[in-house]
């Protein structure tokens, strides 16, 4: 039985090619700008230890007490902590959800299948529905697909 693959609209090859070229060109210009419009390798990839008209060796504290920067970094610290806690909560929620979903699946003992063809299983699959799983309605068996090849693992 052959598969019927869906009709989908993909991105056109022309759009991909043109946009990729434009992206590379923009990147080149941006990096060229970042390296001070240098055109010889001698000046690329090097952070100058000094800037014209001073800066280095200037009063250390002058650059160390800019309120805007101080606030910016305090703000990012706070964002890190809050987002980190949020991400941790989401992690635990998903961990729990995965465990609950796993309890509804057939428990190990049959070969896993990674195949979508719905051929009837010859020997009738053993459904070991976990008793602890919350009732999600009895599942209609559509002649559950059995891939005799397995996934080779």
């Amino acid at each position: 039985m052959s598969r019927s693959l869906p009709e989908t609209r993909d991105y056109s090859g022309l759009a991909i090619a043109v946009n990729a070229l434009v992206a590379i060109a923009v990147t080149a210009v941006v990096v060229w700008w970042a390296s001070g419009f240098a055109y010889n390798a001698e000046t690329l990839f090097r952070v100058a230890p000094t800037v014209e008209a001073g800066g280095i060796g200037a009063d250390w504290r002058a650059g160390n007490t800019i309120p805007a920067l101080d606030f910016l970094i305090a703000f990012i610290h706070a964002a890190d902590v809050l987002m980190g806690l949020g991400i941790l909560v989401m992690l635990f929620v998903h961990w729990g959800a995965f465990r609950r979903l796993a309890s509804r699946m057939r428990q190990p003992g049959e070969t896993a299948r990674y195949d979508s063809d719905a051929d009837a299983v010859a020997d009738g699959g053993r459904t070991a529905a976990d008793a602890t799983a919350a009732a999600d309605g009895s599942v209609d068996t559509d002649g559950s697909p059995g891939d005799r090849g397995g996934d080779g693992r």
């Binding site: 598969r3 056109s12 991400i87 599942v139």
Partner: protein, 337 residues
């Protein structure tokens, strides 16, 4: 029903996802090798010391700029791209999905909300292109990558930061800002790896992001089902312990880089021109290294996802050939290998 579930990504998007993932992993390894140099000294050494690690970081950053510009252009200049904008807007359904996820874990709901479902199964028609988490990922990545690119280029440019703040200490503040900014994404990516690697129906990796949607069949034997049909799938024997181990590693990784980021204050610049100076105690060192291990596992899983795509394409080709030769007779399922 299938481990493939339902296709979402175009071929371009799957390729982009892989390139972005690899690039971001390299940026994380090099960037946090620098920021957490106390704890990840070996990573710095591995990349050729402080000179090598900055070079690697900049080359990867250069690739990131190209990828971002390309993506923005694809979203703006193509009708397929523009059609996706409606899909990423957060709505009341997403809030409901988040709340229902909490209820589901606590046993107060029987199913995950359609906007939270990763495994759609028979209910694929009810599931949007992006789950509420997926939308969150896109928001965080968009904001983070924009700010990281701008601050990164300002740091890279000799005069970029200096024209605003004429001292090196202030320039250092930008480096610190850049590093602290990436921490959100670093933690987010660790969660992303867990979320898409350890869903029981998809373990060890969800292939939606690796197999283009045009290669994923949509048919089901019949469509009248009152559940997703997850109970017809078999759980992998190793899922239980692997998920617990990975869950623990991910929690340790997230907590450690969070604690590490708090200690790596960096501005006002204390004594030396080094971002770092946190407590170099053993626990934090182990923890941050666990975080890096989680990223390595993620990198391996996304390579495995691509391997599955290659296998699947081969299987489709074999089936097409078999169908052509047998006049539409029964096709023997080929082994994946």
């Amino acid at each position: 029903m299938t481990n493939l579930d339902h296709g979402k990504f175009t071929r371009m998007t799957t390729t982009f996802h892989t390139l972005l993932a690899l690039d971001v992993f390299i940026l994380f390894f090099s960037g946090y090798g620098l920021m957490f140099n106390d704890e990840l000294w070996w990573l710095v050494t591995l990349m050729g010391g402080s000179t090598g690690v900055t070079a690697v970081h900049r080359i990867a950053g250069l690739a990131l700029v190209a990828l971002i510009v390309f993506w923005v252009l694809m979203m703006l200049t193509t009708s397929t791209g523009r059609g996706n904008f409606r899909e990423i807007l957060m709505g009341p359904d997403d809030v409901a999905a988040a709340i229902q996820d909490f209820k589901f874990v606590l046993g107060m709901a029987d199913e995950r909300h359609p906007n939270a479902r990763q495994f759609a199964g028979y209910k694929s028609d009810d599931v949007p292109l992006l789950s509420y988490i997926g939308k969150g990922v896109i928001y965080i990545f968009s904001i983070e990558l924009t700010l990281l690119t701008i601050s990164g280029l300002l740091i890279w440019s000799k005069t970029g930061v200096m024209q605003y703040f004429a001292t090196k200490t202030a320039a250092m503040a930008f480096v610190v800002f850049h590093g602290l900014l990436g921490v959100i994404m670093l933690m987010g990516v660790m969660f992303h790896i867990f979320e898409h690697g350890f869903h029981p129906a998809f373990y060890p990796v969800e292939v939606k992001a690796f197999i283009p949607r045009k290669l994923i069949p949509e048919e089901h034997a019949d469509t009248d089902h009152d559940s997703t049909g997850i109970s017809q799938l078999t759980l992998a024997p190793s899922w239980g312990w692997a998920t617990n181990v990975m869950g623990v590693l991910t929690v340790i990784g997230i907590v450690s880089v969070l604690v590490g980021s708090i200690f790596d204050e960096g501005y006002p610049v204390p004594r030396e021109l080094v971002v770092g100076g946190g407590p170099t105690d053993l626990l934090l060192t182990v923890g941050i290294n666990v975080g890096i291990l989680v990223l390595f596992i993620g990198m391996a899983l996304q390579m495995y996802g691509n391997l599955l795509r290659v296998r699947w394409q081969k299987q489709l080709e074999q089936e097409a050939r078999a169908t052509a030769t047998t006049d539409g007779g029964q096709v023997n399922q080929p082994n994946d290998d």
